[in-house]
């Protein structure tokens, strides 16, 4: 298990480094002068040169890349172009909000998606199963910002059941949770569909296996067979999938944060794009990419640990 963990961890780091290399080279390759775009058309050549030097853009590409990686290792993500505050500090302030939002989305997905999938598998081909199937595809297909906008319109603006904007009072946990409901739904609804489908498929697969027939032959109750014997096995790939979920919810949070005017990485990055604040954008991309890799890794490890065949084999 330890060796497996180390191996997977190294792999994740490598992937993040490569992804950043990709990003930097893509930015390097596309035509356009970041300094010119950041400073606007009225900037003098001297101002642009100074900006480039500040951002390290006057160095050769690979020097830029490795300097970037080196800085990342020491926790230095550069400074805000305008306020000169360290980007890492700003990310540290925003990240908890985004993670809370991703968790709220995942909460919706788990609370709705897993029971839906179980029900569908157990009552396979029933009317409700078919309906769930169509609904899940619908949930997956509809863009999260539409869900967010419609939810905002219906539940906040028209019905006024939930608050419209913001993250709630800093000290008031309940208020913060209420503020998470609609944004959470917006980011999580697609994952409700994914989970429902995924759980249904893996449940059906497990329910067809021999040991389930054996459990039936021993007269175990349907409930125990479904929720212990089958679900314990079917949940393993689902756990691994949830990691991908957290990762993609963190980046999917952009829209919910904008629509509900919540603080968070996504809103910070979009604001930074609008003000051409390059270091903040890079920092945001790096952090979300790392979180993506990290959450995938963690959930894989949890799934492996939950499975005695792997836990003891590694």
């Amino acid at each position: 298990m330890l060796f497996y963990t180390i191996k997977r961890f190294g792999l994740a780091i490598l992937i993040v480094c490569l992804a950043m290399l990709m990003l930097l080279s893509a930015i390097h390759l596309v035509p356009g002068d970041p300094a010119g775009i950041a400073l606007g058309p009225r900037a003098t050549p001297e101002m642009r040169a100074e900006f480039r030097a500040l951002m390290g853009m006057d160095q050769p590409f690979f020097v830029q890349y490795f300097r970037f990686l080196g800085n990342v290792v020491t926790g230095d993500l550069g400074v805000d172009v305008w306020s000169r505050r360290p980007v890492s500090t700003m990310i540290g302030e925003q990240l908890p909000h985004t993670i809370a939002l991703a968790m709220a989305g995942l909460g919706w997905a788990i609370v709705l998606g897993i029971p839906m999938g179980c029900y569908s598998a157990v009552h396979r081909n029933s009317v409700l199963d078919k309906l769930t199937g169509v609904l899940s595809v619908g949930c997956i297909a509809i863009p999260s910002f539409i869900v967010g906008l419609y939810a905002l319109l219906l539940f906040a603006v028209e019905l006024k059941i939930f608050p419209e904007i913001g993250a709630g009072d800093a000290g008031d946990i309940e208020d913060q949770l209420v503020h998470l409901v609609l944004p959470g739904l917006a980011v999580g609804l697609g994952w409700v569909g994914y989970l429902a489908r995924f759980v249904r498929t893996s449940m059906l697969e497990v329910m067809g296996e021999n040991h389930i027939r054996m459990a039936r032959a021993y007269g175990l109750s349907n409930r125990r067979i479904t929720y212990v014997y089958a679900l314990k096995l079917a949940i393993l790939p689902t756990v691994a999938l949830l990691g991908v979920g957290v990762g993609s919810l963190i980046s999917g949070a952009v829209f919910a944060e904008i629509i509900f005017a919540r603080p968070g990485i996504g809103k910070m990055v979009v604001d930074a794009v609008n003000t051409r604040n390059y270091p903040i954008v890079m920092g945001g991309v790096l952090v979300t990419t790392m979180l993506f890799a990290l959450s995938t890794l963690i959930s894989d490890l949890i799934a492996a640990w939950l499975d005695p065949r792997i836990r003891q084999g590694l």
Partner: protein
């Protein structure tokens, strides 16, 4: 899109168009097909169907609700929302077709290179594909936009970079499988050139999975375009995009619900339509992949 699928696939099926008849028997597939056709025709015929000029301002009736004159109301500048939506469909489909088409071709070539070329090239390309997959797409898009500025081309570039690996993987896997089969070896022994072998034997085999993936990717691409335009980082005004209509609607959400509702409808129709159609196509063309439904 539908036309491309039919002509390419029908050649390989024994009873011609049997798959199409099968598709029509699937109610959800039919439903998806109808929605997709609706969107395609309304986009193509936008200039004829649109009751108003999508740029025409009508300051007297700003933010109006639906009426016979303005079927879906007007926006904050008094422009007819329905007409803007019809033209927005052109943008959405344009982005989808251009970027998915390019990704498909690029992925095909890269995948074949990976599968056919030396192993160091294969490894290099695989690493490349894996690292692209590690990116959150929207974040990647935002980073690129910071540098080159928002535009239609930027969106297309981002989508191509992020979706190509999917096609390349399929192409690579099929290349590896085909590479070892007897007839390729035999033809190579006869002196046929490598590119010729690849194209004549490989391409017909992987058209189907690639097309299934493409039809599933179209709604994703349309969502990315609309999403970025909603953030104000997509197509530039006054070009109508569903995303920018939503952006206007969001700004005036307390004044009128209609702009948000109207901007969302075409996106819902399109994503649902393409997704249902894509799923049904996959079930019909590739029963192996069929989700047990």
């Amino acid at each position: 899109m539908a036309d491309t699928i039919s002509s390419d696939v029908a050649i390989r099926r024994e009873p011609r168009f049997a798959w199409f008849r099968q598709l029509l028997r699937d109610p959800l597939g039919c439903f998806g097909l109808v929605l997709v056709l609706l969107i395609i025709f309304s986009a193509i015929g936008a200039d004829i169907i649109a009751p108003h000029d999508y740029k025409a301002l009508d300051v007297k009736s700003r933010l109006a609700g639906p009426s016979w004159d303005h079927l879906l109301g007007t926006d904050n500048l008094g422009r007819d929302t329905f007409s803007r939506i019809l033209h927005g469909g052109q943008i959405a489909l344009y982005v989808a077709l251009v970027s998915v088409g390019s990704s498909l071709l690029l992925g095909l070539v890269l995948g074949m290179l990976a599968g056919y070329g030396p192993s160091w090239l294969d490894n290099l390309l695989m690493w490349f594909f894996d690292s692209v997959r590690a990116f959150p797409v929207i974040m990647f898009a935002l980073a690129v936009i910071t540098v080159v500025g928002p535009s239609l081309e930027t969106i297309i570039f981002v989508v191509i970079v992020t979706t190509t690996p999917g096609y390349a993987r399929i192409a690579r896997a099929s290349t590896l499988a085909t590479k070892s089969t007897e007839f390729i070896l035999a033809e190579r022994a006869l002196g046929a050139g490598v590119p010729r072998i690849m194209f004549s034997h490989l391409v017909p085999n992987i058209v189907q999975p690639l097309l299934i993936l493409a039809s599933m990717d179209i709604p994703v691409v349309i969502t990315i375009e609309a999403g970025l335009s909603f953030l104000g980082l997509g197509v530039k005004p006054p070009t109508p995009s569903w995303g920018s209509i939503l952006n206007d609607g969001y700004g005036f959400i307390r004044n009128t619900p209609w702009l948000v509702i109207a901007g969302g409808i075409p996106l819902i129709i399109t994503t649902l339509g393409f997704t249902f159609l894509g799923e049904a196509l996959r079930d019909v063309l590739d029963p192996k992949l069929k989700k047990d439904r």
